[in-house]
Subunit: 296 residues, 3 copies
Amino acid sequence: MSRNFLGMKHLKKEDVENIVNRAYQYKNNSSLYKNALKDKNIITMFFENSTRTKTSFTLSAKKMSANVIDIDYQKSSMQKGETDFDTITNLDAMHPDAFVIRHFHSGYPAFLSKFTDAAVINAGDGICEHPSQAILDLVTMFEVKKDIENLNVCIVGDIINSRVAKSHIETAKMFNWNLSFYGPKTMLPKQEWIENIKIEKDFESAINDKDFIMLLRIQLERKSGSNLPSLSEYSKFFGINECNIPKDTHIMHPGPVNRGIELSSSVMDNSEYALITKQVENGVFARMAIYDFCLN
Amino acid sequence: MSRNFLGMKHLKKEDVENIVNRAYQYKNNSSLYKNALKDKNIITMFFENSTRTKTSFTLSAKKMSANVIDIDYQKSSMQKGETDFDTITNLDAMHPDAFVIRHFHSGYPAFLSKFTDAAVINAGDGICEHPSQAILDLVTMFEVKKDIENLNVCIVGDIINSRVAKSHIETAKMFNWNLSFYGPKTMLPKQEWIENIKIEKDFESAINDKDFIMLLRIQLERKSGSNLPSLSEYSKFFGINECNIPKDTHIMHPGPVNRGIELSSSVMDNSEYALITKQVENGVFARMAIYDFCLN
Amino acid sequence: MSRNFLGMKHLKKEDVENIVNRAYQYKNNSSLYKNALKDKNIITMFFENSTRTKTSFTLSAKKMSANVIDIDYQKSSMQKGETDFDTITNLDAMHPDAFVIRHFHSGYPAFLSKFTDAAVINAGDGICEHPSQAILDLVTMFEVKKDIENLNVCIVGDIINSRVAKSHIETAKMFNWNLSFYGPKTMLPKQEWIENIKIEKDFESAINDKDFIMLLRIQLERKSGSNLPSLSEYSKFFGINECNIPKDTHIMHPGPVNRGIELSSSVMDNSEYALITKQVENGVFARMAIYDFCLN
């Protein structure tokens, strides 16, 4: 029996804890994962550009001895007018064990999961969720704090368009975080869809007494920049640099970082509190643990 | 010694029977194929878009433990003006065990086979043949009828441009089928290249007393549509739907289906006689058996 | 501990000898390399089109049982504006064992090697070096002459833009070759950067008493053709064909050959002295030996 990995919203707290613990074990003992996916066949489909997430899902599957088949949608029969639905049901007929899907439509992996017995793994859907990023963030938080309960976390930036923020709204409920948002008003959610999430009034309160500050990427390629007067203004009021970095607060970012906008190069490359590289490193183990959850 | 798989025209009846039987055995016993291609290196080259065929050939090779190397012709030295011939002879010098090739030129795989010791597997050439589709159709027919001799089969649609139809003209001879064609006159072959193949006069006779009706795709991307007055007219006179579906007749289609044109969604998704998904499923085992024929 | 393979300039003579010998051993005994890279993870990144080199590096890694992950830069986060540097440091955080990189910027692999613990393998950088081509040339020379010391070698063609020529300037120093260049004046280096390399005055002296003549590709895709009055003139004065081919001299070419320009088809396909196909064949073993040098 396989299980889907569609979003933090769909997971139980116990499942998330198990995945995070498993990832941490994998990081410390490679014998636990080698051959764990022998004879499993995993199809990856990325309808949006990706380096980190796609490479991470591919590498982790191969490290576990799975077969990975990537579908290049630009050379697929979708170019002949075949619908996504038919493409998937056809691939499903070949009985892969899992689909790893990134799609520009919110809810697309959940939709597909109704038509396949294979595990569906959400690698990012529209402006909805990016749950494997949430897991790797949790692994990283656990690594530096040895606990993921009751944390003080502020997410800074383009909240509305961020699937990472959406996933962490769920994480915050699960682990009783004190979660707050900070950013330009044009990038903040309207009150109605936030429960128990504070909107920080100014930079000082945003960084005050936080265990982790998560910076979000200004998604220039999606024109989230159009919600901004200017990038230099954003950097001045919402960016972290060597002058305003808070003490004893870890800085996270899902990447790719716009250097000098969300985060200065000097902090990113030199500060021990900048966890960006560690997040990417843990991403491989997080995805392994996700495969283990789905397939074993 | 390796053997080519260039077309039904090039195969003996005995070979085809062995391949079909082998595929059927593989479907029922995975231990027969695991590791069967260990240390074999297979190069795939698709000069036309494909989902089903390419994924199926890739997946089946990996399930048999082969190494698969895909050549993306758009990023190859062909972009520097290297000829196909030189590209192939160069790849041949690396001593792969097989080439799987789809090309828009008819006869291309047969041409290449003269210049390489590797097995050449035709994954579709121009408007000539699509022999692996013919094999998977035979596997599917065997699965539902337990016999592939003396069948009554009608192929409906764009016969002239169909490589599936070309392959089945050979299959029909081999297995003594009563094969007929039906479609708009602009899509039917001239009398001279059909032997023993009846052209059906009307829809009633086309569907009458058939074991299998094979619907062909209107290849909109190849402008086969230009031979039609309109798609709705085609659908009305040549499409299968819940109102005109014949009793006890299996419906096949090589895919991707243009829903509502060759076949209605209600029949495709609900009828037990619609074999489209089963064809795709059997495609994986058919390709495994083809590799086995070529390489073992 | 891993070692880089950045260029002939960076290697000791002893290292080069070991790599060449290893490749030659591999060619004669496949049991030496199977499983030699088990559980190693190799990332390939090609920022320029390639068939031979990319396929060769991929195939050789898979033959040694490594995992290979290819980054398609056109679908990577570089499309979101991420810098090459950040892409690499992020990939580095996933702890691959080696990067195989072709880039249009000279010195790019050496630059990257400063920011990763993984082995960096140069698969061609700008107009600088193409060291794996130099190694496979040496393997091929060793195969036909049983010695790579004190050879008489003339390189003919677009020297200035050739990374193969740059690599062999270093090889010549290492193995005490009598190396000369010949080509149109617009394609020859200025005196200041050649030490001990003769510029041949005419075709007769270029081909006289040589063990090997290496023809270089007119890189039409890089507009090296703009340094030429015409291709037919180039062919007439600098091309090798059945009429002017010297006796007992081996003809090499890194490929892809512009047939009829640098080399006539009749010589390329029929002469036992044309080593082009053998070079490609040896390329697989050369790259295996390079991996072995870097990772074992």
